[in-house]
Symmetry: C2
Subunit: 328 residues, 2 copies
C-alpha cells in the first residue's frame, strides 16, 4: 500500500493471538499501528502465545472472551479499527457442541457490535467470515450472489455473525464489511489438528516425516496464503468502498486435493500420502468442490492474491521446520 492509513492509529484485533490475527498484528506493528489484541486462548482454537513471538512487547494483549460486552466497552473506546477475527472455526466441534459455537460466533459478534454502537460508532470494522456459508455450490466459481446454505452449525452461526455486521453498518452507520475467507494457510496456522484446515495436519505430518492422508482427493479447492489474507483485511479496513460490503477472498489457482498433496511433496523434496475414503460423519457436512470468484473485491478495492501455492507452501514448510515444537 503506497500510503499508510494505520501508522500511529489504534487497532483492536479479536482473535489476535490466532493464526490470521497474529499475522495481521505483526504487519500492523510493522506499519506503526498501536495494536491491542483480544484472545480467549481456547485450547481448541488458534490462539498461541508463540504466534506473538517478536511482537509481544509491541502490542497490548488482553486475554478475555468477546462474548462479554461490558469489558469490550473499555477495550473498544478510542480504537480506530477493529478486525473481528475471534470465533470458532471447527465444523465438527460445532456439531458436537452447538451451544458453544452459538455463544462464540453469534453472541460474540453481537456483543462486539453492541459495544461499538454504544461506545465507538465511528470505528471501522472488518469481519472474518467464511466460504462455509455457501454450503455445496450450485455452480463454480462461487460469487457473492450465490445462495447461502450452510451445512453445519458453524456455518449457520458465522452467517448470523456476518449479517449482524452488515446490519449494524446499514442501520447504525458503523462502517463494517465482511470477508468470506476460503482455505487460508501459512505460518502460525494451527497444525495440531484439522480444526482450522486439513492442510495444517498435512504440513505437520510432512515435517515429522510421516505420511499424511488425503480424504477423497478429487475435490477442487482454492487457497489463500496468509499474507494475502492480511492484505485483504488491511485494504478492506482502509477503503470507503467496502462499507456494508461482503467480499469473497480467493486463491491464485484452483487444484484438486490430490494435486495439492503432490505440490506439497514436490516443494518439500519428498514425503508420502495415502488417499482414503471420506469418513461418513464428515461426508454429511462436506461441500464438494469449491472455489471463489473474487472479482468484486478486486474491482472495488483492488485486492487480489499474489503468493502462489508453491511459494506459500514453501514458506509454510520452512516455518514449521523451525517452529513445529511450539505448535504441537
Amino acid at each position: 500500500m503506497s500510503e499508510c492509513p494505520f501508522s500511529n492509529r489504534r487497532v483492536l484485533i479479536t482473535g489476535g493471538a490466532g493464526f490470521i490475527g497474529s499475522n495481521l498484528a505483526a504487519k500492523l506493528v510493522s506499519l506503526g499501528a498501536r495494536v491491542t489484541l483480544i484472545d480467549t486462548f481456547f485450547p481448541d482454537c488458534g490462539g498461541n502465545l508463540f504466534n506473538l513471538e517478536g511482537i509481544v512487547d509491541h502490542v497490548r494483549l488482553n486475554i478475555s472472551s468477546v462474548g462479554n460486552e461490558a469489558s469490550l466497552h473499555y477495550l473498544l473506546k478510542g480504537q480506530d479499527y477493529l478486525f473481528n477475527l475471534a470465533g470458532l472455526t471447527s465444523h465438527m466441534d460445532s456439531m458436537e457442541f452447538p451451544y458453544k459455537d452459538l455463544e462464540n460466533n453469534c453472541l460474540a459478534s453481537l456483543s462486539v457490535l453492541e459495544a461499538c454502537r454504544k461506545v465507538n460508532p465511528d470505528i471501522r470494522v472488518v469481519f472474518a467470515s467464511t466460504r462455509q456459508l455457501y454450503g455445496k455450490p450450485d455452480q463454480l466459481p462461487v460469487d457473492e450472489n450465490h445462495l447461502l446454505r450452510p451445512t453445519d452449525v458453524n456455518g449457520i452461526n458465522k452467517m448470523a455473525g456476518e449479517w449482524y455486521h452488515i446490519l449494524y453498518n446499514n442501520v447504525y452507520g458503523i462502517r463494517a464489511c465482511s470477508l468470506r475467507l476460503t482455505n487460508t494457510y501459512g505460518p502460525r496456522m494451527r497444525v495440531m489438528d484439522a480444526r482450522q484446515t486439513f492442510l495444517g495436519v498435512w504440513l505437520r505430518l510432512l515435517v515429522e516425516n510421516k505420511p499424511f492422508e488425503v480424504w477423497g482427493g478429487e475435490q477442487l479447492r482454492d487457497f489463500t496464503y496468509v499474507d494475502d489474507a492480511v492484505d485483504a483485511f488491511l485494504m478492506a479496513a482502509a477503503s470507503d468502498a467496502a462499507h456494508g460490503r461482503i467480499y469473497n477472498l480467493g486463491g491464485c489457482s484452483v487444484v484438486t486435493l490430490k494435486r495439492l498433496a503432490e505440490i506439497l511433496i514436490e516443494v518439500n523434496g519428498g514425503g508420502e500420502y495415502a488417499v482414503r475414503e471420506f469418513p461418513k460423519d464428515r461426508k454429511t457436512i462436506d461441500i464438494g468442490d469449491y472455489y471463489a470468484d473474487f472479482t468484486a473485491i478486486r474491482n472495488e478495492i483492488g485486492w487480489q492474491p499474489r503468493i502462489d501455492l508453491h511459494d506459500g507452501l514453501a514458506r509454510s514448510l520452512e516455518y514449521y521446520r523451525l517452529h513445529l515444537r511450539d505448535y504441537v
Copy 2:
C-alpha cells in the same frame, strides 16, 4: 384434507398459546390430535390464555421457555409432530434488545432441535419462519431462491433458526421443513400493538371507533388469513415431499397498504384512517414492497391460500368486536 394424519396422534406446539399456535391447536383438537402446548407467556409476545378459550380442557399447557433443553427432553418424548412456532417477532424490540432476541430465536431453536436429536429423532417438525429474511426484495414476486438479506436482528436470528432446522434434517434425518410466513392475520392475533403486525393495531382502533394510521401507504403486501396458514402447517407436517424444504406462504391478492385500509373500512361499514410519513427509526429496517411467489408449496404439497382479504378481514373484525377486551 381427505384423510387425517393427526387423529389420535401426539402433537407439540411451541408458542402454542400465541396467535397462529392457538389457531393450529384448535384445529388439531378438532381433528382428534392429543395436543401439548408450550408457551412462555412473554408479555411482549402473542401468548394469551384467552386464545385457548374452548380448548383449554382438551390440551396440555406447559408454561416454559424452549431455551431450556433439559425440560424439552421430557416434553418431546413420544410426540409425533412438532410445530415450532415459539419465538420473538418484533423487529423494533429485536433492535433494542438484541440479546433477548438471540436467546429466544437462535438458542431456542437450537435447543428444540438438540432435544429432538437426542430423544425423538423420528419426529416431524415444521418451523415458522418469515419473509423478513429476504430483506428488501430485488424483484417481485419473491421466490425461495431470492438472496437472504435480513434488515433487523430478528430477521438474522430467524434465519439462523430456520437453517438449524434444515441442517438437522439434512445431517440427522430429523424430518423438518420451514414455512416463510408473510403478514398473517385473523382471530387471536395480537392487537395491543404492532409487535406481530401493524394490521392488529388497525383492527383494534377500528373496533374502538378510532382513526388508525397508515405509514407510507404505497407499499405492496400480501396477507395470509390464519386458517390458511394453519392448513399450510398441517399439510407441510403430513407431507413427505416437505422434508428439508423451505416454502414461502402467500396471499390471495396483493394490495397497497392504502388499499388495505380502504377494504378494511369497507368491510367494517365505516371508519377513518390518516396517511402518515414513515417514522425514521422504522425506515432503516423497512423492506419496501413485498409479495411472495408461493408456487413451490403449491406444486409440491398442494397448498394455496383460499380465504380472500374481504372475507378474512370480516371474520377478524367480527372476532374482535366480540372479544376485544381480552386482547387489550
